[in-house]
């Protein structure tokens, strides 16, 4: 097992012993498994949302609560942040310089926080218009789905901050590299979930 090469894209552990490779392999694989479990969680939230679309209890429905423009900008922010994270991964793979990785991570963080800020703004606006989660089952399922994603992005942002600190404290060590790789998986995963949310929640809201 020790002679096998690591096939995970973006991870370059350079000349380290086989043990480090093996450990990284377990860790990255374990994270993939976690993401599967997390994907089940989101799948169920999506399913609940689908089932509860009609449960508006006479309150606002899909047509009158969503702010498409804002959702579109949020989508752009999050998609660009995935791109900038990709740049961080490439920097990690080819140059391994802490400063270059940190810059791209910081840009990603700013985009992520921008996304969160806009989402918060949307929520506040909706709540101001009386579209609160207490209003109906439909709105409950909307807030649960979208803010669970938002909480994940918040978690990811905190994780980026931790990694920025670790990059400056430890430098680009194998442990830091595998952590950034897993953070990347997490971040792109959230991007995919958001594409689902944009399609199923927001675009569906456009249909009469």
């Amino acid at each position: 097992m020790s002679t096998r090469e690591l096939k995970h894209a973006g991870l370059n552990l350079q000349q380290t012993d086989p043990k480090t490779h093996e450990e990284a392999e377990s860790r990255v694989f374990g994270f993939w498994v976690f993401l599967m479990s997390d994907a089940v969680l989101f799948a169920l939230l999506f399913a609940t949302y689908g089932v509860m679309l009609s449960g508006t209890a006479g309150g606002p429905g899909t047509q009158n609560v969503y702010e498409m423009k804002s959702a579109f900008i949020e989508t752009l922010l999050l998609l660009s942040s995935s791109f900038t994270f990709g740049m961080a991964s490439l920097a990690m793979k080819y140059e391994g310089k802490a400063s270059r990785i940190s810059v791209w991570l910081a840009v990603t963080l700013i985009l992520g926080l921008g996304f969160l800020g806009m989402e918060m703004h949307d929520f506040v606006k909706m709540i101001g218009e009386g579209a609160t989660p207490e209003r109906s089952g439909f709105l409950s399922s909307f807030f649960a789905l979208v803010s669970t994603h938002g909480l994940h992005v918040l978690g990811g942002s905190i994780w980026i901050v931790v990694m920025l600190v670790q990059l400056s404290v430890f430098g680009v060590t194998p442990a830091v590299k595998t952590r950034i790789l897993r953070l990347g998986l997490f971040w792109h995963f959230l991007d995919i979930i958001w594409v689902g949310i944009f399609t199923i929640v927001y675009l569906q809201g456009l249909t009469p």
Binding site: F34, S136, A144
Partner: protein
Amino acid sequence: MSAPAHGFWHILLGRMTWDSLAFVRAWHDPTVSEIIGSCAAALVVIGAVALFAALTYYRAWRPLWKNWVVSVDHKKIGIMYMVLAGVMLTRALIEAVLMRLQQADAVNKPGFLAPDHFGQLFSTHGTIMIFFVAMPLLTGLINFVMPMQIGARDVSFPTMNSISLGLTTAGAILIMISLVLGKFSTGGWSGYPPYTEMSYNPGEGPDYWIWAVTLSSIGTTMTGINFAVTIYKERTQGMHLMRMPLFTWTALCTSILMIFAMPPLTVATAMLALDRYLGFHFFTNGMGGNLMNYANLFWLFGHPEVYILILPAFGVYSEVFSTFSAKKLYGYTSLVIATMAIAVLSFTVWLHHFFTMGQNANINAFFGIATMTIGIPTGVKIYDWMWTMFRGRVRFSVPMLFSLAFLITFVVGGVTGILLATPPIDFMVHNTVFLVAHFHNMLIPGLLYGMIAGYQYWFPKAFGFRLNERWGRLSFLCWVLGFYLAFMPLYVLGADGMPRRSQELFHSSYLPWLIVAGIGGLVLLAALLTLFIQLWVSIRERDANRVPIGDPWDGRGLEWSMAAPPPEYNFHVLPKVTGRDAFTHRKEQGEAYQPAAEYQDIELPRDNASGAVIGLGGLAAAFGLVWHIWWLAILGVLIMWGMVIFRSFITETHQIIPADEVERQHRAFLKEVSETRAVDRDYEMTPQNRGLAEADT
């Protein structure tokens, strides 16, 4: 009722009042029911105080902390899970006996338990038995055995393993606290809304249930990830998937089920919590809420959960039948396929838990047929085990007795399962004690007997001495007799229409059956008692029954190849595997106890307190949420995530055991082997058995 506190005290203690204390309630309202409640509370308090006093008196705090609490050794974590399960089993079994006695007493009269108390009893009994007995038992057993079976030194993520234990323990402690402070849910182990919603149950009961279950489900998800990755990544050289012992196969299937089936539970409890805490409308009556979503989410977890519970026991039986018949397992491949088939099918049958809840007949028919399909792979297994014994050198040891009792009893339960899988029959007997009889008939032989068999089977490996056979047999007798006495009458009563979860009954014809069932409950209590006596007796006479060489049953898997108890690194040198039943093969080739050509440094994970700290944080958060003590809840969450981040800054996570030391220990072990007389199978239950098996001819 004393008024809820205001101002400072309200912030400090949330909605806790004097009346929250079980003792105060019993003082105000000294009925038998309340007094029983406060006796249970007193037991918890006295138990905790006695434990603290004993630990202090024997100066055991430091060893407990150093050797156990902070340990990330999979073997110790496994043992701690088993201890937790033992404590919780005791409580939940006493509760079961109380309920049996109440029903035997309450025909045409109210009996000695108040309805509310009875409701708490069946809720805690079910919740504890599933989440804090069954799950810790199988997690503990897999933890202890699986890494050794695949030739690994530990699981893939030892610290996460310790965190899983911490969270599960936190959930168990929360349920124990509910005996003293406040009341538990009366909504059953499945906690169906809208009954468990704010409008019907504004008290702390459902919140206790939600957070105890949530802690356990998060811990279990992590356990599943950990085991699955371990089995995929940590197998030793040559240990191909189709060479793994069957127990490891069932561990793999159970882990996969945990990964996919625990999130629905987490989602269901989280949504119920949102309804209760923030006024959401997922499962409320009206306002667009839909309680059927809960039923679907819960059983989307609940049915795979049944197989999470049963599969590891199937693994134990496979090992036990094979070992105590001195034959290789019959139909290994078919057993693997059957296990996988059961794991996959388990996701296609959840709807049979609510045939009567309004979907059309075609949907019911689909799920009914899918349910019956599971009988096929299970039947394959039954036949494989029987053929394993055929013409084998069968010894009726305690694990074997439990396995045989399982074989017969489980088939009875399976047949009643096929009955229940037929929607028209289900309409007749749903919500009666027929169902209660059925699932106890599956889980007692299909889980508990298996776990007891596994405990008896691997105990000598864990502690280095055999358990007492006589008390083991007596315990076996009680478990089997008690089961039949307690649950066969329930089939009759259920078919006769007796509703489940009834505190009071109004048919005199039920009485004789309920008395028999009550006696059965007492016999089961005796069974647990004899199990503890067996442990006590075995510890006292341990010197006569030591098996230091570690292979008391002529075992077939790698876990029998090292000393008992095993060294913390398990294997002096990681073994190379060339086929199934790796250790048997090595014994046949005369390679079992040979020095290695070369010893290497062994790297082991360093013990750390992450699991304990995160478990404590989880307990604080959950307790704060139950009682609306918001500062405590926030503090708990901060402690948990703070510890995760803090831990990521620690770079010294491993310790090295030098090659010289490994070699010295191995040579000492080999010397002991050469001085030990091998034992023939006919004498394996006598003190002649020192853990070295004579070559089978």
